[in-house]
Amino acid sequence: MGSSLDTFFQQVFNGLVLGSLYALIALGYTMVYGIVNLINFAHGDVLMVGALTAFSAITLTQALAPGIPGWALMLMGMLAAIPVCVLLSLLIERVAYRPLRNAPRLAPLITAIGVSILLQTLAMLIWGRNYLTFPQLLSSEPIAIGPATATVTKLLVIVLSAIIMVALLLLVQYTRLGRAMRATAENARVAALMGVNPNGVIAATFAIGAALAAIAGVMYASLYSVAHFYMGFIPGLKAFTAAVLGGIGNIPGAMLGGVLLGLIEALGAGYIDQISNGVFGSNYQDVFAFIVLCAVLILRPSGLLGERVADRS
């Protein structure tokens, strides 16, 4: 019987794993919102498409060439998912969002919901409605990190997410594209006057977000060993909460918000039994994210690190 401190560390570790995923997905939401003031409702479903594409690629390869090691399959799955998600996201932006850039606020939002439904339908048509078992690619032997137990997959999630987030920060801070993105996010018209192609920058933002979502999708499916057409909805919603928590439009904010939300959720789910004397169990885990969302929006709507949205005047 481990001590309660051990449980605490375990929950913190779980929270970090969950939080890393939320951070990756939240980055997609926050970047898009920062640049075009739109909640990309379909982002969670892009994650779903990534996971299912990787699933198909991996199972197909496993059938054709059985000897390939797990890590190679996972890499291949990600490399298959990324271009699919990027193309899909670019298509969505071009067809559904770009014509409505100047429309009243309700229109792109409703369109985004419609796109989300369409993606789910597409997934149902291609992959069916059943829950698909995502293959266990990496060993599930428990590894001890201090008092907590981890698996290779969980460690991979944390490490890979960290690497990607650092890379994104470097991209946004030190490259031409990053400067263009920041400029367009601040004021698209003036950026255009400075020689930035706003359509190109917006497309690049969607593409980067989609790539992150694809990777997050593959890792999410590996963690939970399941993939199905509705899997993007809840992670998408929670990731948006994370983005708002950190400050919408704020890239470090999304990272912080993601990790924080993961911790809140893991610790909450772990201790809710004790706190509520058994009234509420861990099946209320999803409610935490919504409570956090409401609390943030009511108490501190600009988020922890402050929001950065486009100047619309």
Binding site: I110, T121, L125, D286, F290, C294
Partner: protein, 381 residues
């Protein structure tokens, strides 16, 4: 047709004729549909139910401009309230209640419908109060979260005290009873044998007509105009002396009331409620109905509701056998087709006809089409 402008008297008579014709059609419709098959009468009854829901959501989204994605939560509250008041669930699980009501809990509809409506309205105000200062996108997400929270609670409130019976739902709900007549039997009225489905259709249509009347009166009242003012420009509305907070709460509350009434009727009709019927998809379906029909325009909303509740059924009967003929099997499940329809409706309408199929006529502007890329920032009443 005379070329001179018609007088008010002529307009009134024309309107009266149209109303009489419509009433006749509505009365005869289930009898005709019965001939096609009882499933069609069921579809018509659900269409009336969806009309009520759409009208309710139209108050929140169409009149007041508050995008509510968790609307189905009020439907759920109304349904579960009726279910708890008119089924053996409470008496079976709580000995104190079974002692207080030895004959079982069978609250009649003239009490349970207002109660369901009132509790739903309470939830509406509960949702509205913290979200008053949120703008469009955030409001949508928070209301979506609210809807999901309600569903999660309904799904899990079966321990430690069994309020909602969790995922299994509540069964054996009483049907509607007017006096001694129970709506789950075939009743003979004026020489006609009306089946249970037809009776429910008449009840729902009567309620829907009532809802339409309420909505029309609201639309043309100070409250309705206040809603539209808030929708167009909240700050200007405040400057005109409108109490924005109360008006918004009123919108949420009234919209929720419509949802609650529909929910109670749904529970009575189906005899069974479970959390599955109250997912986000249902909220989106009602939203797509009002978007397709014409946001903020009552005839448009009714059109959208009827179209999107009847057409999928029509597809099921035509596309299903068609696929088997062409491909030998069902390539596309009709459930998937239904979802596809809603998604396409939302996207296509927003891109090409953002005001809906039957938008409100613009005041003082000659009709012309507006390309979506040049859509102005003024939505119109």
């Amino acid at each position: 047709m005379s070329s001179a402008p018609r007088s008010t008297e002529e307009h009134r008579r024309a309107a009266l004729r149209a109303t009489a014709l419509l009433a006749l059609v509505l009365l005869v419709l289930p009898l005709a549909a019965q001939w096609l098959g009882p499933a069609w009468v069921r579809t018509l009854a659900f269409a009336a139910l969806y009309v009520m829901l759409a009208l309710g959501l139209n108050i929140v989204v169409g009149f007041a401009g508050l995008l509510d994605l968790g609307y189905i939560a009020f439907y759920a509250v109304g349904a579960y309230t009726y279910a708890l008041l008119a089924s053996p669930h409470l008496t079976e699980n709580f000995p104190s209640i079974s002692q207080a009501f030895p004959g079982g809990l069978h609250v009649p509809i003239w009490a349970s419908i207002p109660l369901g409506a009132a509790i739903a309205a309470g939830f509406g105000v509960l949702l509205g109060a913290p979200v008053l200062k949120l703008r469009g996108d955030y409001l949508a997400i928070v209301t979506l979260g609210f809807g999901e929270i309600v569903r999660i609670f309904l799904n899990n409130l079966n321990e430690p005290i069994n309020l909602t019976n969790g995922p299994q739902g509540i069964t054996l709900i009483d049907p509607v009873r007017i006096g001694q007549l129970r709506f789950d039997h075939t009743i003979s009225v004026l020489g006609l044998q009306l089946t249970s489905l037809q009776l429910y259709y008449y009840l729902f249509t009567a309620l829907a007509v009532l809802c339409v009347l309420v909505c029309v009166r609201l639309q043309n009242s100070r409250i309705g105009r206040a809603w539209m003012a808030i929708r167009e420009d909240e700050i200007a509305a405040k400057a005109m002396g409108i109490n924005v907070r109360n008006i918004k709460l009123l919108a949420f509350g009234l919209g929720a009331t419509f949802g609650g009434v529909s929910g109670s009727m749904f529970a009575a009709f189906q005899g069974f409620v479970s959390p599955e019927s109250f997912s986000l998809m249902e909220s989106v379906i009602v939203l797509s109905m009002i978007v397709l029909g014409g946001l903020g325009h009552i005839p448009g909303v009714i059109l959208g509701a009827v179209m999107l509740s009847v057409f999928p059924e029509f597809l099921r009967y035509s596309v299903g056998p068609l696929q088997t003929q062409l491909f030998g099997r069902t390539v596309v499940d009709t459930e998937v087709l239904r979802m596809l329809l809603y998604g396409v409706a939302l996207v296509v309408i927003m891109l090409y006809r953002p005001k809906g199929l039957w938008p409100a006529p613009q005041h003082g502007v000659a009709p012309r089409s507006t390309p979506p890329s040049a859509a102005r920032s003024q939505a119109d009443a």
